[in-house]
């Protein structure tokens, strides 16, 4: 595969140099099967200016510590939290640093069957030779067990409950029995094997996790970024990156960006900056969605109305991008617009145009 033209490279290739530097300097003891010591893994994710290692995950350092420690034990690691909070990124970084390989992934969906977690067959060979090791197609998890690496399961809760159940014995016994190859044939995981799963507990269409499965995982919640100024900076940065692909000159005025950040933060946390309580919508109010709204507002302003973006553009996009056809959420947004946005509109032009546009949309 031509790697230069892929959309996104795996973390171990993207940060190969950093990993190499960390490995060269790594004197601390390593758990069996790990490429780096736990401390070096931490430095890889949280950055180390001394080795020119960049920070890749923001906002919650103790969470990273806890993740690393969980992976050293017998429990699997389950990353939960709202969409758009970089769960998958964290899982990829952990796998790349610990195993040097973040590609052992099962992408969970309603279509995943047990074979995707254990092993399947090359049916042509199976018919020709009968069950044999050559005919067996191992799953990424089986490969990870064999080599003592970290396996990743994305969106575990999207898999059917009976498929999730297959994970229970896999995690507690750390073996896969292969009765087709002989009575006592099984694969025992090499040391270093563990599982990082990501899951979404709030979206519609996800399956409830059984408590037996929950017991086998340590749960970590990846939260949205707590620091408002930092979130704003991050949004501005990502917005700029996205706009590089377009041929319009569009700058998000500071004041309008403030409106975006405040609206998302207020509705996400249920509390406005001045302490007033806000009804929280069910819609996902993540940083990623904030970027989407700001992006769409910029495109709207630049391509359609050919003017500088205002609060009105934000308001118009908010309905389409975030508040997708949920009457209850629309009502919460209306309450927000009626009280908080209206009050702020008396002091700020951006808020005033936001309020007006949101009201007329109503």
């Amino acid at each position: 595969m031509d790697v230069t033209n892929t959309q996104k490279e795996p973390a171990e290739r993207r940060y190969a140099e950093e990993l190499a530097r960390l490995k060269a300097e790594d004197r601390a003891p390593k758990p069996a099967g790990w490429q780096l010591s736990p401390r070096a893994v931490r430095r890889f994710i949280l950055g180390d200016p001394a080795l020119d290692v960049s920070r890749k995950f923001y906002g919650d350092d103790p969470l990273v510590d806890r993740c690393i420690v969980s992976l050293m034990g017998h429990q699997g690691l389950m990353l939960v939290g709202e969409p758009g909070t970089a769960k998958s990124l964290l899982s990829e970084l952990l796998a790349a640093a610990i195993s040097g390989n973040s590609l052992l992934v099962v992408q969970g969906s309603a279509g995943v069957i047990e074979d995707h977690l254990r092993y399947g067959w090359n049916y042509a060979l199976l018919l020709a030779e009968g069950p044999s090791e050559r005919a067996l197609v191992p799953s990424p998890i089986m490969n990870a067990m064999q080599d003592g690496k970290i396996a990743r399961i994305e969106e575990l809760t999207r898999c059917a409950p009976e498929v999730q159940d297959a994970m229970i014995s896999l995690l507690s016994e750390k073996t896969i029995a292969m009765p087709e190859l002989g009575a006592e044939r099984e694969l025992r995981a090499a040391r270093g094997f563990n599982v990082i799963a990501t899951a979404n507990l709030r979206d519609l269409g996800v399956n409830e996790m059984s408590s037996a499965l929950k017991r086998r995982f340590n749960f970590e919640t990846v939260s949205p970024i707590a620091d408002a100024a930092f979130e704003k900076e991050l949004i501005a940065k990502q917005l700029k990156e996205r706009m590089e692909d377009y041929d319009i000159e569009a700058e998000m005025p500071e004041e309008v960006l403030d409106v975006v950040v405040s609206v998302f933060r207020d509705l996400r946390t249920g509390r406005a900056e001045d302490g007033a309580v806000v009804a929280q919508p069910k819609s996902v109010m993540s940083t990623a969605e904030a970027v989407n709204v700001a992006h769409a507002a910029l495109l709207d302003a630049g391509y359609l109305s050919a003017e500088s973006p205002t609060g009105a553009h934000v308001a118009r996009q908010l309905g389409g991008v975030v508040f997708k056809d949920d009457a209850e959420d629309a009502r919460k947004l209306r309450a927000y617009v009626d009280t908080i946005a209206r009050a702020r509109g008396r002091r700020s032009r951006a808020w005033a145009s936001f309020h007006k546009a949101a009201k007329s949309d109503d």
Binding site: R42, V69, G73, L201
Partner: protein, 800 residues
């Protein structure tokens, strides 16, 4: 001298054997510091031990040393001001406070014990005047903020200044080498100080305090070894006490009164929120007890294991068992985290982090139950004891003085009665407020035997309040309990309300508006006035979160009643209730949209609420709110295909308010009556709804009564009987006078007179009466023959 040179100087000169000066730089409530101070005093055997505590608290030292005084206790210091309320501040001691250990160890080696800080009056006065509530007499914010702390945290991977401190210093608890430990604390704190802007140090009044402490130190030198226990922040200026002190003299007069009170870990932890030392005292006490029980460095694994075991067993008794594998994982995580973070053993933050990993299954939030339980566990519940010799705190004196001034007889323990003319005599109102305040503090001083009950809104129009009251030792005991909250009755009342508020939260009733407003009313009755501001803000917040339509409607009615009230419940000046009502109104409008989806059994209170609101908005509070928003919300309800009751109610409100033509009502009722609902009573829904909010429409609105009458008239007997109980229930909202009006209207429709329906009258012929009497006599004879005359007798009795 600045920066590095100063840090070096501190490290080298914190102990000056040639001058017999030994400085112990500490952090308040740090067991590692306490342990070092203990070793230091045992080795040096000083002639004098000086402590950074206000000099005017010195008279409390004997009480602190008394055998029957047990930590946690606090020195409470009070300052009367000409303008504004009395201020109170606290200087707490717990078993692992370096100051406490210094006092006890110093006394053991026969040292003279002195407090050398500025008087507490100066310190209270210098604190932020705007602050209400308890304030600490010692502050050390520098440990938790500033660029230096942040930079060190990010380099060492610590979350905050507390973890940083634990990482750097509590890990060394029990270290035999107290010299290098204390020198390091001094150096660290000097570095903190070097990165604190000079104007910040000046603005806190630290320089003045340091000059004063240096003076005390200067005076103490020269007659044997001197140990001085001070906050590490002040180390550098005390290296040369003579130079720093100049001509300042130590001691002096103080305007503050001080006394010793029992203190609790709960209050201690709250005070530490203001930067007064390490939080979660039970955890640090466990550390301290561990190193006390075994000389030398601690066995961290044992500490972690014991903490986790004791937490687990506590949780098991509380009904939240933690499985053994989960306990093992907790311990493993804590220890591995500690190793990852380069520590000898699991510290407080490691334990909390490990708990989050091992026990929380699912999404966590800041208010996660397990974390909260663990933090409460680490905080502890210890309550101290104060020696009987220490005397009474001023809250008792305050209560007595107020009682006397308000002409309550408290010279003996006799129970007396008193009637108060609360609406006409201001002095009586003040006395009533005092009695209410004492009731709020649960002192049993007074109980209300008659008069208006404002809390339950019963007979609020009465003019006189009647009280029974008596002063007793129990009253004093309860007052001393309340001293933790404040030194005066109003301050203690505020504390009591805050506690009751917190209890609501702990019981999962943080948004219980009825309970919150009850507290607010209690505060009003007790005359807390403007200080209720905070509680009112909480009411406001709870209103904005409220999901309970009837409760919110009751709240807005109550608030409006308070606003309109002129008696004991009247609103004190400066308390802004209008915006709270506005918030409640906005919330109600929002909640209106829930009504169409509400379950049938939850509907009646909502209908009541609608009636209450309509009366309020179209009556006394008209013009206070944007009524149009309410009307719009009702229209939205009507359009959302609501239950018949609700439709009846909102239609009735609209008709009554003149927003819809009167014909709407009979049309709606006809529609429901002639509908095809198989269950006949269900067809009465609209009528029920209308009667619940506006019964008068039955006879005032055109055709309504006619429609109802026609519907009932066309029913056959069976259907009417099935309908009857429901009809009676619906009509029970009518008062007797209203029932009469309807009767009159019906009679008018059908002709005849009302009396024809009410008086029942049967004509019996003589022949019938005679035959009846015969049958009766025969029956009695037959029963008597069966030996059942008791039965007849008992039946007759029962009938009587």
């Amino acid at each position: 001298m600045t920066g590095e040179a100063l840090i070096r100087a501190v490290r080298e000169r914190v102990f000056q054997p040639e001058a017999q000066l030994y400085i112990a730089p500490v952090r308040h409530h740090s067991p590692a510091c306490a342990s070092a101070v203990q070793k230091m005093i045992r080795e040096i055997r000083p002639a004098k031990v000086l402590i950074e505590a206000p000099h005017d608290l010195e008279h409390l030292i004997p009480h602190l040393l008394a055998a029957d005084t047990e930590p946690p206790v606090a020195a409470a210091s009070l300052l009367d001001r000409k303008d504004g309320p009395r201020l109170a501040a606290y200087y707490p001691f717990c078993a692992h406070s370096p100051e406490w250990v210094a006092l006890r160890e110093g006394a053991k080696v026969g040292a003279e014990l002195r407090f050398i800080d500025l008087g507490s009056d100066a310190k209270i006065a210098s604190a932020d005047q705007q602050e209400t509530g308890p304030r600490p007499l010692v502050r050390e914010q520098a440990f938790d903020q500033g660029d230096y702390v942040r930079a060190l945290c990010s380099r060492l991977g610590c979350q905050d200044g507390y973890e940083l401190w634990d990482h750097l210093f509590e890990t060394r608890i029990g270290d035999q080498d107290w010299r290098s430990f204390l020198a390091d604390v001094g150096a660290y704190c000097t570095a903190l100080r070097a990165s604190t802007p000079a104007d910040e140090i000046e603005s806190t009044g630290d320089m003045e305090r340091e000059t004063h402490m240096a003076a005390g130190l200067r005076d103490a030198l020269g007659s044997g070894p001197v140990v001085v226990v001070i906050g590490g922040f002040h180390t550098a200026p005390l290296l040369d006490p003579i130079k720093t002190a100049g001509k300042t003299s130590a001691g002096g007069k103080s305007d503050a009164q001080s006394y010793l009170i029992r203190y609790g870990y709960k209050e201690l932890d709250a005070l530490m929120g203001y930067g007064a030392g390490l939080p979660q005292p039970a955890y640090y006490e466990a550390l301290w007890n561990h190193v006390q029980s075994k000389e030398g460095t601690p066995d961290w694994q044992v500490i972690a294991r014991e903490l986790i075991q004791s937490f687990s067993s506590k949780m098991r008794t509380a009904g939240y068992g933690i499985s053994l594998p989960a306990q093992v994982e907790l311990l493993r995580s804590a220890e591995t985290l500690a190793r990852l973070r380069n520590r000898p053993g699991a510290l407080r933050h490691d334990l909390i982090d490990a708990l989050t990993s091992a026990l929380v299954k699912g999404e966590t939030s800041s208010a996660d139950a397990w974390r909260e339980r663990f933090v409460v566990f680490l905080r502890g519940h210890a309550l101290g004891e104060v020696s009987d010799m220490a005397g009474q705190p001023p809250i008792v004196a305050d209560a007595r003085a107020r009682a006397k001034a308000l002409r309550f007889n408290v010279s003996d323990g006799l129970r007396r009665e008193r009637s108060l003319d609360i609406r006409r005599k201001p002095a009586h109102l003040a006395a009533s407020r005092f009695a209410h305040a004492m009731t709020l503090l649960e002192t049993d001083f007074a109980s209300r035997s008659g008069g208006p009950d404002f809390l339950n809104a019963v007979q609020t129009g009465l003019l006189f309040e009647h009280w029974d009251y008596a002063w007793s030792p129990k009253v004093e005991g309860q007052l001393i309990e309340a001293a933790v909250f404040g030194d005066t009755i109003p301050a203690a009342c505020l504390g009591q309300l805050a506690r009751a508020r917190a209890a609501l939260t702990e019981n999962g009733r943080s948004d219980d508006l009825d309970a919150l407003l009850a507290l607010f009313k209690q505060g009003l009755l007790a005359g807390l006035g403007q200080d209720l501001d905070r509680l009112l803000t909480e009411v406001k917040d709870a209103l904005r979160r409220s999901g309970d339509f009837p409760q919110t409607a009751r709240a807005i009615t109550t608030l409006h009643a308070i606003e309109a009230s002129r008696g004991p419940l009247s609103l004190p000046e400066g308390l802004e209730i209008r915006s709270v009502m506005q918030g409640a109104f906005e919330r109600l409008i929002y909640l209106c949209d829930d009504l169409p989806k509400i379950r049938e059994e939850a509907l009646p209170p909502c209908l009541d609420a609608l009636r209450m609101l309509t009366e309020l908005l179209h009556g006394p509070a008209a013009g206070s709110f944007e009524t149009a928003l309410f009307d719009e919300a009702l229209d939205r309800i009507a359009e959302a295909d609501p239950r018949p009751e609700l439709l009846g109610a909102v239609t009735a409100i609209a008709v009554e308010g003149g927003r819809k033509p009167a014909s709407t009502l009979p049309d709606m009722l006809t529609g429901q009556f002639s509908g095809t609902a198989l269950n006949l009573p269900a067809r009465l829904g609209g009528l029920r709804g209308m009667l619940a909010v506006a019964p008068n429409l039955l006879w005032t609105a055109d055709h309504v009564l006619a429609v109802v009458d026609e519907f009932l008239a066309q029913l056959d007997d069976d259907a009417f009987l099935a309908m009857l109980p429901h009809l009676r229930l619906a009509l029970s909202t009518l008062s007797p006078r209203e029932a009469d009006r309807i009767a009159a209207a019906l009679v008018h429709r059908h002709g005849g007179s009302a009396g024809d329906f009410t008086a029942h009258h049967y004509d019996v012929t003589d022949e019938d009466a005679r035959r009846g009497a015969e049958i009766d006599a025969a029956l009695r004879a037959s029963i008597r023959a069966d030996g059942l005359e008791d039965w007849i007798f008992a039946q007759n009795e029962g009938a009587v």
